[in-house]
Symmetry: C2
Subunit: 229 residues, 2 copies
DNA sequence: GGGATTCTATGACAATTGTCAGGTTTGGAA
DNA sequence: TTCCAAACCTGACAATTGTCATAGAATCCC
């Protein structure tokens, strides 16, 4: 049995909460629920999107391929976030790829439901606008971090970010396990450099690892490192 | 004599064009025109903005101070752009400083005119949203460029960007003259590194200089350099 | 016009980061 | 279980970039 958007808790976290009952009903009737396995793509750079994806579960990386063949991860999106909005709003093909880093459950909402509501419901539009304003601010922060901090600082920051945004499991490991390559693509460095620094952090007792899994041991020192001590 | 927004050509380039006649009238009655000299700030990081600034003339850098004391320039805004929107929309203090790199003429529009229209005129909101979607896409590109390209490539790209966006003067120099420090803050590197690379470009015949002024001599080679040749 | 200040330029060096070239471990499929 | 491919790790080295020091050039201001 398909669940109804009207009852979906996820909605509370994103701009869909500003929709009226009728609008939501329309969305719910037209939406399609999909499951996406780890490693599969929701969409790829250059695709024309016919709608947006509302994340019910799991995590997706949003990345962009650079000229030298490396991906840069621009954002990690989780439960409650809506992907593909920018492309649908600007009526352009998307500039990012969305690939699952965990198994995901998403709702695909055809763009008509979105564009119609954008034109008719100012509250909804304003809500989307607020979200985008927030994303833009975050993007500015990323720019400053990448250009002004060392790789070491950026990796330390990434671990703290992962802890704060996705939490830890029972054994104290980061709940979101990224491959070393993904980590290097988040901070914008070579995979080998990332691995080296992870080893160094381990030696210094800042983190502990088990296979791919990473746990934070000395949060205070990591925070100091981010600020340049 | 103050000019009226209704007649302002600048408006055609930004989201204000989606305002109704009455809304524009209201904006025009409440706006204040200001001149800002080179080096002066429109606003600074952390300020709470009581309105937005519509640029009529001149150019402003939007920058953010990083922990190590260096500014990172995130965007150069020129005629037609509206600054401070994000802060007003999100009702947060601004995360960027806006400092004139050329003498400017701007119109300050109190936030009430904006927020009122945002709530009442979906077309206007949608127009603002489109602009912000565009800015966000550009920010993503900046992230990828900074993290995946060398300083040399980024400087080459910056020169091409300056030419394409601000043009050249009669003698073939870039119309927007930035200090070496500003250039280094655009590409996110040390001032000395920027200077060194500028010298190198000059030696190789890619550019020519006269004081601070820089002119592009071999656009093709610069473009090749950006793509990694 | 002269002095102070800021900006530009360059050298020398050190630190950071990337690349290449191996190894080892891990995880999943047959 | 066993094997294979992918992921992880490390060393050695080169390239890039940042830092410090210093000096000349341009600009501002009294």
């Amino acid at each position: 049995m398909e669940s109804r958007c009207e009852n979906c808790i996820i909605r509370q976290f994103n701009s869909l909460r500003a929709m009226s009952k009728e609008e939501l009903k329309h969305v719910s009737d037209s939406k399609v629920t999909k499951t996406v396995k780890k490693g599969e793509a929701l969409f790829e750079e250059g695709d024309k999107l016919n709608g947006v994806y509302c994340v019910r579960n799991g995590i997706s990386k949003l990345s962009k391929l650079s000229a030298n063949g490396k991906d840069q991860i621009v954002k990690l999106a989780t439960k409650g976030e809506v992907l593909g909005q920018r492309s649908v709003i600007a009526e352009e093909s998307t500039n990012l790829s969305a690939i699952a880093v965990q198994d995901m459950e998403v709702c695909f909402i055809p763009k008509e439901s979105i564009t119609n509501t954008l034109q008719k419901n100012p509250n909804f539009t304003l809500e989307v606008l607020r979200h985008m304003a927030h994303d833009l601010k975050e993007a500015d922060d990323v720019i400053v971090n990448i250009s002004q901090k060392t790789v070491k600082q950026r990796i330390a920051e990434a671990f703290l970010y992962l802890k704060n945004n996705f939490g830890e499991d029972e054994q104290g490991f980061l709940a979101l396990t990224l491959s070393r390559e993904d980590i290097s693509n988040v901070v914008g460095t070579a995979t080998e450099s990332a691995i080296r620094i992870i080893s160094e952090f381990k030696k210094k007792g800042l983190i502990h690892t088990s296979g791919k899994k990473i746990g934070i041991k000395d949060e205070r020192k990591l925070m100091e490192m981010v600020d340049g001590f």
